[in-house]
Amino acid sequence: MSDFTRRKFLKAGIATAIAGASATYGGFVIGGASKKVVVVGGGIAGATAAKYIRMMDSSIDVTVIEANKDYYTCFMSNEVLSGERTLDSIKFGYSGLGKHGVNVVHDTVTGIDANKRVVKTAGGDSFKYDRCIVAPGIDFKWETIGGYDAKVAEGTPHAWKAGPQTATLRKQLEGMRDGGTFVIAPPPNPFRCPPGPYERVAQIAHYFQNNKPKSSILILDPKKKFSKFGLFKAGWKKHYGYNPDNPTGPGMIKWINSEAGGTVSSYDARSKTLTAKAGKFKGDVVNIIPAQKAGKIAFTAGLTNDKGWCPINGKTFESTIHKNIHVVGDACIAKPLPKSGYAANSEAKVCAAAVVALLQGEGAPTPSYVNTCYSIIAPGDGISVAMVYAYDEGAGKIIKVKGSGGLTPGKFDPVMREREQQYAYSWFNNITSDVFK
């Protein structure tokens, strides 16, 4: 069907729907003329956008193209590493999206033709769209650490995309001798889940404490500070042994920051040795989380800037490079929103509302966004950071709402910290059902 007739159809379709008149127009059923949205990547952002578009306007034909049959959430994967939960508990399927009338195709997108408005897959299929939503998550800048690449990562996991990588790291931690050293190399900014590496340290310390108490954790960090800085340092000290005044002194956790030469430049997989300015460090188990950029398809489709992320309009999440393509989740630049699951879910709903309005020929509605990141330092010690965001129409950017948000209070209150842990689990249950069910 040519573009012209298709559009004519659409208008007719809407008019008919409003009037509630007959089911056909010119001998064709209206259903065949619905607007098409193709979502590339069915992770937190993509799956949310697909579901919410269908919830907002069930006349829109939504197809999600996702590479994997199962999705493993990164959030709570640190609890898999500590043995507090199973890998199965963070696994989700796509049947829930089907119930919302979303078409789910398992294939890998290899190209997006922004002019012809066609998405192409490795399986050889093409999908036409009126609007495309790209949500591929992250990829790694392998070139930043010599000797570390996708192949080496099979043995020395990053575990920054959950699933088999998480299972590998857990297995290695289980196999480690008591008295061994776990070395973790967090990435430089900006990256997926700013508190994530430091929650991982806490969770693994918790595992060591109960199972391998003579072991230690060394953090080789290319940064001077990190998210929830004070809360993590206090938590490590309280539960596991860490000295904020002498971060490489006695105690289970040691932290070498960028000023102390913690930036890792290369890795020798055979001897499990990392090289940084501060020296060479050998680990019994090593976890390298490389610097990050937008998922590969964002580059192929020409949606990225020179820093490797996708610039967007914060009100619609439409790419500022290619029309009719929106980018949501970790891959887009939504500053001051962080690259988190909560933010990805929130961005996707703003994008969904904009896409629905634009397809209906209306202006995008005024957005509102929220982010929260919970971290569990130890059983009974949950902490969080939260923020409410708005769109500044004049400046054309997303802004923090003054006076909102902030951190869990620093003073340790066992009653409230226990509640936060339970609310962190509630958040996990609610966001995963909001995305996948």
Partner: protein, 199 residues
């Protein structure tokens, strides 16, 4: 086929109504309310174990709750930080959104014997303002939902009420006092089991 068309029509009408109902220039109740789903569940129906369901909440109760959070007057782990992000008009818009959603009771474990005792206590002390089963259907009650709410949330709430970290009206305070006098903390525990048994 016919069914989907009716649905489409209904949806289009709905979206018109929604945009008209949103306060001038601001985000609509749906836009604001959708940001809460990460913690409270889609449309405010929580999957637990602890975060409260806010779907079907009483409009006045919710406005008051949000204003109390905003002012730091009600004990909270996180809502005090969230509520400070919204204007009064936004709070009204989101309260309208959640008040219009269908309440879904939580499926959770409970102690049947305790629930039976709790039922009697509810009838005696609380039913006047919280409905027959802890879900008031009288709009003028302006009370929170108890029946079918998640148990850990109820536990935290009762603890805060007892410790004075959350205020309550004079009449409710009196009933709580009478309940405490007659049955002590065990009475409160029975009440919570009763509310949890509403499924």
């Amino acid at each position: 086929m016919k069914k989907t068309r009716v649905l489409q029509a209904a949806l289009i009408t709905c979206s018109l109504v929604f945009s008209a109902a949103s306060h001038a220039g601001g985000a609509s109740g749906a836009m604001l309310g959708n940001t809460c789903a990460g913690c409270h569940g889609t449309n405010g129906v929580s999957n637990g174990p602890a975060a409260p369901t806010i779907a079907g909440i009483d409009y006045d109760y919710m406005v008051e709750a949000m204003e109390e959070f905003k002012a730091g007057e009600r004990n909270a782990t996180i809502m005090t930080r969230i509520a400070k992000g919204y204007t009064d008009a936004e709070i009204e818009a989101m309260s309208e959104f959640f008040a219009g959603k269908k309440y879904v009771k939580a499926m959770q474990k409970y102690d049947a014997a305790a629930a039976k005792r709790g039922a009697k206590l509810h009838k005696k002390y609380c039913k006047n303002c919280h409905g027959d089963t802890g879900i008031s259907t009288d709009k003028d009650d302006d009370s929170g939902v108890l029946g079918g709410q998640w148990k850990p949330y109820l536990n935290y709430t009762f603890a805060d009420l007892k410790d004075g970290k959350r205020s309550m009206g004079k009449k409710m305070k009196k009933k709580m006092k009478n309940l405490q006098k007659a049955k002590g903390d065990a009475g409160v525990a029975d009440l919570i089991e009763y509310y949890a048994s509403q499924q």
